[in-house]
């Protein structure tokens, strides 16, 4: 059965809605740098371009399956049900933030929504995800863990050590390598041996004798199909798989690194700013996963233009409210900084 039939219309519309929510959230974050300069401190990383990959993968989840992404982490909890106003408030460093202003953009955590936490160190979270899978295995919970990380992470020791150990222990985890073509500011062609050899990055799975597959990460249904296969396998006790999901990061790596009092802002994508490849960026924009999926649903008679417009309005209202809530939330009490070092 085709994934579209398997999922049913309501679920497909749900997927489109989630993709849109992620995109609109990230747009509001980006706009904050312009409309409210200085409100977002430090480093913020956006997931626009990743929506089809995130939602296609998470659509395969069972209730209670933990999700462990990297520091580019806004999109996942949005799909898992974390209130977007609390995520925005966290990015703004406010008291009502998801982590009360202790974490910020790179360190979101919401264990109540199966989101145990993220780390800002490239690749480190892959080991944590394998550990969450160890809990599932030892406690026989039947959960599958979703580990997301970028192409850059796949050159870290944590990636290789964790895949090896997860394979030896047959841990119930799906490793999803999000190949968005840029490792921070560096093109994948400058730093990945498989890429240099003209081979897919999923080839790395062979080193650990686990299944590896490469999928079009701009097509949520293609991602769904491949991740479903891996999740079913993990749930059946056969261990991990590696899936390379290929898409294009549509924003720069992060906001420009500025020193106060210069306000932070978002630069142009590295393809233009660093490499001068305007055509590459334009092609990626033309292949934007969101209008593509909308056209598919409307073309297939699953969604009408009117319905799509209603969804878009609702999502816009939600994110208006997220920004309002974030800006209205008070800053934390300074002395609270001494809390939470220990239990």
């Amino acid at each position: 059965m085709q994934p579209a039939q398997q999922l049913g219309n309501d679920r497909l519309i749900w997927m489109y809605t989630q993709m849109l929510r992620i995109r609109e959230f990230e747009e509001r974050v980006k706009r904050t740098f312009v409309e409210h300069p200085g409100v977002i401190r430090g480093h913020t990383h956006l997931g626009d371009g990743a929506e089809a990959s995130i939602v296609g993968a998470l659509a395969t989840r069972n209730d209670g399956d933990p999700v462990m992404p990297s520091y580019r982490c806004h999109g996942y909890p949005i799909v898992l049900g974390t209130p977007t106003n609390r995520i925005m408030a966290e990015l703004y460093g406010r008291r009502d933030g998801l982590c009360k202003g202790f974490g910020g953009s790179m360190h979101l955590a919401d264990p109540a929504h199966d989101f145990p936490g993220t780390t800002g160190i490239i690749g480190a979270g892959i080991a944590h995800a394998a550990g969450v899978a160890l809990t599932a295995q030892v406690k026989r919970t039947g959960q599958v863990v979703y580990s997301f990380f970028g192409d850059g992470s796949s050159k870290q020791g944590a990636f290789h050590e964790s895949l090896n150990l997860a394979a030896v222990w047959r841990l119930p985890v799906v490793f999803i390598l999000e190949n968005n073509e840029y490792q921070a500011y560096t093109h994948v062609g400058l730093e990945d041996a498989n890429y240099v050899a003209g081979q897919p990055l999923s080839k790395k799975a062979e080193a650990y004798s686990i299944p590896g597959a490469t999928v079009d990460g701009t097509d949520p249904l293609a991602v769904y199909e491949e991740v479903k296969r891996a999740a079913d396998r993990a749930r059946a006790g056969h261990g991990p798989s590696l899936i390379e999901s290929k898409f294009y990061r549509l924003s720069a790596h992060g906001n420009a690194i500025t020193v106060p009092p210069v306000p932070t802002q978002f630069p142009k994508h590295e393809s233009i700013e660093v490499y001068g490849r305007k055509a590459e960026f334009e092609a990626a924009k033309a292949n934007d996963p969101i209008p593509k999926f909308r056209d598919k649903l409307v073309g297939g008679g699953i969604l009408t233009d009117t319905q799509a417009g209603e969804i878009e309005n609702k999502v816009r209202e939600e994110m208006d409210e997220a920004v309002r809530f974030g800006l209205a939330s008070p800053l934390p009490q300074p002395e609270d900084a001494l809390k939470y070092v220990f239990t």
Binding site: K100, A127, H128, L134, E161, S162, L165, Y340, F342
Partner: protein, 326 residues
């Protein structure tokens, strides 16, 4: 009823008892549970006793992930230096995740490792690196010096909801002592006065506690009464007990196997300077390892490390009984 056992045995006893008490405790590391004949494997099975590849980043990172979601892993690192290859997990992951989440998660892991192997293990396997852990808020650090403390602190480490670096001293492994039976838990942050005295306060950890007690015996014969305090955990550090002793004696010698500028002694000296300065009758003296790597050959190794004689000389110098003392 207390039972005489060796330091290493006391640690194993604590782990076994805690694993019997709590099914969430798991124990894994390199070169352990290798065959079906392994007694721990027989007791607890393959789910809870595991062997790992030589992959410290994965071993520690996996423990952190498991701890985030309800297990209480103990990772056997064997040597504290092996943590250096996975320092991100030790210093920048385990102690940060709770804080960064605004208190939503906890990370109850124990990183268990030996240290201080001053028996010809040279520059990379005999270090005392605890200041690195101590200086990382969010980590607790235990340095047991006796079999009883080894058991009580291991039990406390396993039950703690925070990440704990549990450092056992290699040269104490075969030391014997009375160990209380059953549920013997030593709370963290409570120093133990190993010997009561009135003239000078000696603060020491690990193997250096034994050296300090031997020095105190010798000094007693010369009429000098030394108090020996073992903080037992250096994070949290029981500053009060040390300060109270200093107020009583007015003289302090801080003994530490770590190199001077990476020692607990310098931290304690700072606390004493702030909290007990007016009670000091002489400057604080530090007896630490030299600021060198640990050398291989025996006379070189002995030269850089603190010993009984160096402690005795330091005590005499702070008491100004020894005119030639530095």
């Amino acid at each position: 009823m207390p039972k005489e056992m060796m330091y290493g045995e006391a640690i194993a006893t604590a782990i076994i008892e805690e694993m019997q008490r709590d099914p969430d405790v798991i124990f894994y590391g390199q070169n352990m549970g290798m065959t079906e004949r392994d007694p721990m494997l027989k007791m607890f099975g393959k789910d809870r006793i595991r062997i790992t590849p030589i992959s410290e980043t994965a071993e520690l990172g996996v423990a952190i992930g498991a701890a985030l979601t309800g297990l209480r892993p103990i990772v056997e690192l064997w040597m504290s230096e092996f943590m250096l290859v996975a320092f991100d997990q030790v210093l920048n992951e385990a102690p940060r995740l709770r804080y960064m989440s605004g208190g939503q998660v906890k990370v109850p892991v124990v990183f268990k490792a030996g240290y201080g192997f001053a028996a010809g293990w040279a520059g990379q396997h005999s270090n005392s690196l605890y200041h690195l852990f101590m200086g990382t808020p969010g980590l607790k650090v235990a340095l047991p010096s006796t079999p009883a403390d080894a058991k009580g602190l291991m039990k406390a480490a396993i039950r703690d909801d925070n990440p704990v670096v549990y450092l056992q001293h290699f040269l104490l492994t075969l030391e014997k002592g009375d160990v209380p039976d059953g549920d013997y838990v030593i709370p963290f942050g409570v120093a133990d006065i190993k010997r009561v005295g009135s003239d000078v306060t000696i603060v020491a950890t690990g193997w250096m506690v034994q050296k300090s007690l031997m020095a105190a015996e010798t000094l007693a014969k010369e009429g000098i009464s030394a108090e020996v305090i073992d903080p037992r955990t250096i994070a949290p550090l029981d500053v009060n007990s040390i300060v109270n002793s200093v107020k009583k004696t007015g003289h302090v010698v801080l003994v530490d196997q770590a190199p001077r500028h990476g020692s607990v002694a310098v931290v304690i000296a700072g606390e004493i300077a702030e909290h007990a300065f007016s009670h000091l009758k002489a400057p604080v003296r530090l007896v630490t390892a030299a600021d060198t790597p640990v050398p291989f050959s025996e006379p070189l190794e002995k030269y850089v490390l603190p010993d009984e004689d160096k402690i005795i000389q330091a005590v005499k110098s702070v008491l100004q009984r020894h005119a030639t003392a530095v």
